[in-house]
């Protein structure tokens, strides 16, 4: 499987799901960092600037990092 993944990466055919996951992780880390330094939640544009991606990518990739079920759990517990 590792070989297939490497092949996909080299070939420029990285799957969307994988790329979103990676950016999603960076978004989560950056959000925590900025929340600490700013003393409030960052805006979408502030995040985009720090991560050097477009605001649309923040919106898109932010999606994968939070599974829907966690919402119910947080509210419930």
């Amino acid at each position: 499987i590792g070989e297939i993944q490497r092949f996909l990466r080299d070939d420029g055919t990285v799957k969307v799901s994988r790329s979103i996951k990676e950016l999603g992780n960076r978004i989560r880390k950056m959000k925590d960092e900025l929340t600490k330094t700013l003393g409030r939640t960052p805006t979408v544009n502030e995040m985009a600037k720090q991560l050097e991606v477009s605001p649309e990518e923040i919106v898109f990739a932010g999606e994968a990092s939070r599974p829907l079920t966690s919402i119910h759990e947080t509210v419930y517990e």
């Binding site: 939640t41 805006t43 979408v44 995040m47 919106v59 898109f60 932010g62 999606e63 919402i71």
Partner: protein, 146 residues
């Protein structure tokens, strides 16, 4: 100036995340906080899920309709289905009430919407469908820095 969008899509559960991203991308134009963005995504999830699993009983041949408009910092969302409707609205909006305990629903959908929005109105007619009107004041950059 007002910015508007209207969206409709097949009532299948893989479109929940699509609907979330679409509304979030529309809102992102006024540069909300990440928190507000998450809240609005959650609200859209709850309403769209309700339309799919309750309104259309997961039958998947229906459509879900969303319209959004932003004027200044005021966001208005309308989420609508042409499903079975809700006969007792007061009961439906009670925290923890669910008509589908077998699906492990939390019964918190309406409560979540009320928590994250400034105004939630529900209009529903048995056999005709359900429409949810949501309003939210966003804190765009101006509001944060001033």
């Amino acid at each position: 100036m007002q910015n508007r969008m209207e969206l409709s899509f097949s009532a299948i559960s893989s479109n929940e995340s699509f609907a979330r991203v679409t509304v979030a991308a529309f809102i992102a134009q006024v540069d909300p906080t990440m928190e507000e963005l998450t809240e609005m995504k959650t609200v859209v999830s709850e309403a769209v899920t309700n339309s799919i699993i309750h309104g259309y009983q997961s039958q998947s041949d229906g459509k879900v309709y969303i319209s959004a408009s932003i004027e200044g910092e005021c966001l208005e969302l309308v989420i609508r289905d042409e499903g079975i409707g809700i006969s007792d609205l007061e009961e439906a909006r009670q925290p923890l009430f669910t008509s589908k305990p077998e699906l492990e629903r939390s019964g918190m959908g309406f409560t979540i919407m009320e928590n994250f929005c400034d105004d939630v109105r529900v209009v529903s007619e048995p056999m005709l469908g359900t429409t949810i009107y949501l309003k939210k004041q966003l804190s765009t950059k101006k509001a944060i820095y001033n």
